[in-house]
Symmetry: C2
Subunit: 295 residues, 2 copies
């Protein structure tokens, strides 16, 4: 067992077809192994790798998927220029006992005639859903397909895409999917910037301005800690921190219930502060739960 893991660590098996994924999973399932899935769009950074690590710690057959899903990008978004580097991704995965890396083509996931979509409803409507029409339908549909193919016991997502985790959990509950959704904390640079594959697009000056996002979240936390209970004041303080940067265009700052994603007047415990902003041409998101220390 250890011997086979060592072999796998040095060279994870890369597969490209749904049929081969299912066949490998079926074998692992028959062996009674606990199956973990970490779905990614590649361009792997330490945030993704924290999902992979959690997966490998908790499961016995570990599947990472790398698929830049076209249906979750809008027509004017960065699907074409989204970073892709399979070789670097496989190198980044090599220290982990990943059993399978599933790297399907677009045609493999969306063959000719494909026409089905999952609509998750209310929690997918505001914020990212409003800024990126169709985004969460694309996310939910591809996640459902991956879950159906890999039938994992546990699937791993990052808190960085907070609303995505709410949407996926809603879908899992509503569609009676037999999978546990695990959310791993956002991984940040030492100066606070949340890791994102899109950070690679930032110029040094944009990189400096982008700190306004995490600093806005810190500010929100400090305000809440110091007794501010008015959601509007917190929202405005975060907004002010963002808009003082010349190349930042704010899409939204949300101060919301972490489960319903509905806007709050007074802070709940905890409260989610989430934001999306363009830093130059690059769209970044970040979020944080605040107020957990109250009571």
């Amino acid at each position: 067992m250890i011997g086979s893991n060592v072999q796998i660590q040095s060279c994870p098996q890369v597969i490209a077809t749904c049929d081969s994924l299912r066949a490998e999973i079926q074998t692992a399932r028959r062996e009674g192994k606990r199956i973990g899935l970490a779905p990614t769009m590649g361009a792997l950074h330490a945030g993704h790798l924290s999902l992979v690590q959690a997966c490998c710690q908790e499961c016995e057959f570990n599947v990472v998927t790398i698929f830049v899903n076209p249906t979750q990008f809008g027509p004017s978004e960065d699907f074409d220029r989204y970073p892709r580097d399979l070789e670097a991704d496989l190198a980044a995965l090599s220290p982990y006992p990943v059993d399978l890396v599933f790297v399907p083509s677009t045609d493999e996931i969306y063959p000719s005639g494909f026409s089905t979509a999952v609509e998750v409803g209310r929690v997918a409507d505001p914020w990212e859903g409003a800024s990126r029409p169709g985004h969460f339908s694309g996310v939910a549909t591809v996640v459902l397909k991956l879950l159906n193919m890999a039938s994992p016991d546990v699937a791993y997502f990052g808190q960085k895409d907070y609303q995505q985790t709410v949407v996926v959990r809603q879908m899992v509950r509503d569609l009676n999917l037999p999978v546990e959704i695990r959310v791993c904390p956002t991984v940040r640079e030492s100066d606070g910037l949340a890791l994102s594959s899109r950070n690679a697009f930032l110029s040094p000056d944009e990189r400096r301005q982008a700190l306004a996002l995490s600093q806005g979240l810190k500010l929100a936390e400090e305000l809440a800690r110091s007794g501010e209970q008015d959601a509007g004041s917190i929202r405005q303080a975060v907004m002010d921190r963002l808009t003082c940067e010349p190349d930042i265009q704010v899409e939204y700052v949300a101060v919301v219930d972490p489960q319903t994603l509905e806007e709050l007047n007074e802070l709940s415990n905890p409260t989610l502060v989430a934001m999306a902003a363009f830093v130059g041409p690059t769209r970044l998101i970040d979020n944080q739960l605040i107020g957990e220390y109250v009571i």
Copy 2:
């Protein structure tokens, strides 16, 4: 094994919760049994029972579901008066080695906060989809839930709901569901009337007029057999047969490609003829594949 089946035949186990369904299925799965699912809305007739029979012949753990799914009924449709008789249904199932009858409440299937829907796209748009907006989204969503709960190897549907079988197959393919969809032939009365739970609503005179549906299909088949290749002529002949009954209001007569459900100019081989009509206040559907004998 035989002993336990005999016991089950006399009294199938009725369960009401998703959790208990999943637990029972998990046990059967661990025992390596081939699992079959026959989803129904109850009011079981010989058509449903032909699905149950096929299921019991081909599978080793047989699940029948009885759930009148509100989301596939339009607001002006007959959800409230749809026939329900659990006792009679269980009696009808008693000759078959059914292992589980799943009879959930509406709240069990759609708990508070439920908000997800599956949209299957093109094949769900015309005919029944156009006549009954939202119908196929309701069907696809509940079928997906049942498939996820029961994780059957095979699921059984009747050809009577032809478009439903096309929609379900499209969903299964698009969402990579690991299940085989089996379609069983329409069961008819000796005079040709397709069995339907809604036939119970027909007065004796309406029952007589309702024969126009199956007779229209026979007429279409005879025309095709005698060399008629023009889809419009066949459609018109069926329409004429229906409209000569005073209490029949035709919703559609479709002469279509059996896979795409797109209208044909010339017959394909085979061609699907499908229809929906109100007979008095009762909406009936019927269909038949014609032209399979050509070549």
